[in-house]
């Protein structure tokens, strides 16, 4: 498999760019936020690119108005601003209204988790999954690499419902191969089948989980890895089937834990089925991250770096061996 580092947003936008040639209903709206590939799109499709200005509330409202008239809309901005500044617009005009009328609005947010590490807590996005997950009718797509991001571009056109698509801000290597058959409807992929313990993660943290699993494998510990890329709606029965092979699940997310994010999703699925599977949630405690430093440094401080994961898994394993 060819490994190449790319940003999810550039791959996604490039794919949308090509789809715009044939599909005249596609419009790309931004709150004055760019990307190298967007430069090409706005030059060649100037009539279907609109810079709304630094006005996220209006970005969402205009997007919805256009979608009500049948257009497929991309509303693009930095993730926390897109989701949090315009939260009521998203709730009322997207979540609530799409209960009644079909609207294909794709909220494309860049900067999931701690992507913008040194920019500080205003630019971190540790709440987005929780707060969008609580809204009915909106899907959450959370790719871990650019191969998935590209697949989501086509998916976003064909699946005519509101979506929040959260991209990492950094160039990341691919986990999947361009030729892979990936079941997007299923919403997750078991990347490694392990024994006893399984790490469940999304986005950037799947890269860290894979590194930790490699390290554990060197020490003779076979850890499972599940990458969940459709947080909502994930295929719950299939997801449960995958989880139920294990004795202990460790969720790892760049988010506040116990606040309705990935951990709550897994907890809910296990609880509902009343199984005896232990659960450990790794993420950020109930406190903003004001520390300045690289993403790896911030992960280390919060014990969700590769080393922290390896040590936790070894400690948890002692209960089963």
């Amino acid at each position: 498999m060819n490994i190449e580092k790319k940003t999810m947003r550039d791959v996604f936008i490039e794919r949308i760019y090509y789809r715009m040639f044939e599909d005249k209903t596609l419009f790309f709206l931004t709150a004055d936020f760019g990307s190298p590939k967007l430069d090409k799109l706005r030059k060649d499709f100037g009539d279907r690119f609109i810079n709304i200005g630094i006005a996220e509330q209006n970005l969402i409202n205009v997007a919805i108005g256009m979608a009500l008239e049948g257009f497929t809309i991309y509303a693009y901005a930095i993730a926390p601003f897109l989701i949090m500044r315009a939260y009521e617009q998203i709730r009322n005009n997207l979540s609530l209204l799409s209960h009644i009328h079909e609207v294909n609005v794709n909220l494309v947010g860049v900067g999931a988790g701690l992507s913008y590490d040194v920019s500080g807590p205003t630019h971190h996005s540790l709440e987005d999954i929780s707060i969008i997950r609580t809204l009915p009718n909106i899907s959450i797509l959370s790719p871990s690499d650019w191969v998935l991001a590209e697949r989501f571009a086509d998916y976003s056109i064909e699946n005519k419902k509101p979506k929040y698509i959260r991209f990492d801000g950094k160039p990341l290597p691919n986990i999947y191969d361009s030729k892979d058959v990936i079941n997007l409807q299923q919403g997750f992929s078991e990347l490694i089948e392990g024994e006893e313990i399984c790490l469940v993660s999304t986005g950037y943290m799947t890269h860290t989980a894979l590194k930790a699993a490699d390290k554990l494998a060197c020490d003779g510990v076979k850890t499972g890895i599940i990458d969940i890329f459709v947080i909502k709606p994930v295929h719950e029965d299939l997801f449960f089937q995958a989880l139920s092979k294990y004795k202990h699940i460790v969720t790892i997310e760049e988010a506040f834990i116990n606040k309705g994010g990935l951990d709550s999703l897994v907890m809910g699925i296990l609880n509902e089925r009343g199984v005896n599977i232990r659960l450990t949630n790794k993420g950020f405690k109930d406190s903003y991250v004001f520390d300045i430093g690289s993403r790896e440094y911030l992960h280390k401080l919060n014990n969700i770096d590769e080393k922290g994961i390896v040590e936790d898994v070894k400690r948890l394993l002692k209960a089963y061996r």
């Binding site: 009539d47 209006n58 409202n61 205009v62 009322n92």
Partner: protein, 275 residues
């Protein structure tokens, strides 16, 4: 009496009927916001009985309809009788407002045929209308987008994001009607944040400004006919000066009219006094 005079007389009678029916709804549904619903009566009547808005009540999502975006949802209980009489739903529904099993709530929702968008929270309508207007233009469609906003709603920042956008994008297919009743929930607007001169603010954002007495059917009618045909490259605003609680003397003079209910036993006397 010429044809126009007849129309005006017809519209005046309709306005009287709508005001009466709105009071009747309030009699059975005290949760409804009466004062806010009485100020835009003439505006709603002219739009829907004056031939301004194209609609098909049997097919509320008809592609050829003019879009009507109500942003001050709470203040349009007076739209319920209009929708019912025009055939959007059964007249009998009016006797069930806020009762179990109906779709006519205290704040209208888009499950009601004739309501296009969500309007329970203020400040959303104009932005959504901008998206609709832009989409219509890009499809070379000539339907208009009428928007009804309250003046107190202008305090919402999102409205000004949309005002800037509409001016910049020359959305001359928008007709924004301000129900300028000058009263918020707790006080007169001028005592909260004085927005005057309102017309100058819109002019500065490249809007064409029109001002009428919002209870004068002739003025509202003449203005909306003109604005409907205007494609002058600028979005149009019609500032309709109105009185909150119009027709109910105790509401007309009370800065707290927004939250004031009229007791069911007092309604008949008020209806008798309507002109």
């Amino acid at each position: 009496m010429n044809r126009t005079d007849k129309n005006i007389q017809f519209l005046k009678e309709k306005a009287l009927w709508v005001r009466r029916e709105t009071l009747n709804i309030h009699r059975i549904a005290q949760e409804t916001r009466l004062a806010s619903s009485l100020s835009p009566v003439e505006i709603l009547v002219v739009l829907f009985y004056g031939g301004i808005i194209r609609f098909d009540s049997k097919n509320p999502r008809w592609d050829g309809r003019d879009r009507f975006i109500i942003s001050k949802g709470h203040g349009t209980i007076s739209f319920y009788p209009i929708l019912a009489e025009l055939g959007y739903f059964d007249m009998e529904e009016l006797s069930r407002v806020c009762k179990e099993g109906t779709f006519l709530g205290g704040i209208p929702d888009p499950i009601i045929p004739g309501y296009e968008t969500v309007n329970g929270s203020l400040g959303h309508g104009l932005g959504v209308a901008c998206g609709i207007a832009l989409a219509l233009k890009r499809q070379n469609k000539n339907e208009k987008v009428f928007v009804l906003l309250g003046d107190g709603e202008l305090y919402e920042g999102s409205v000004w994001e949309a005002i800037m956008f509409a001016g910049e994008h020359k959305l001359d297919n928008i007709v924004l009607i301000i129900d300028n009743n000058k009263v918020c929930m707790l006080d007169y607007c001028k005592n909260i944040l004085d927005m005057e001169p309102l017309d100058e603010k819109f002019k500065a954002f490249r809007w064409a400004v029109n001002i009428v007495d919002g209870h004068d059917i002739e003025q509202v009618y003449a203005s909306l006919i003109e604005l409907k045909e205007d494609n002058g490259g600028r979005p149009n605003i019609l500032i309709a000066n109105t009185i909150k609680g119009k027709g109910v003397p105790s509401l007309e003079t009370d800065p707290l009219s927004h939250v004031k209910n009229i007791m069911p036993g007092d309604i008949d006397a008020i209806i008798d006094g309507l002109k």
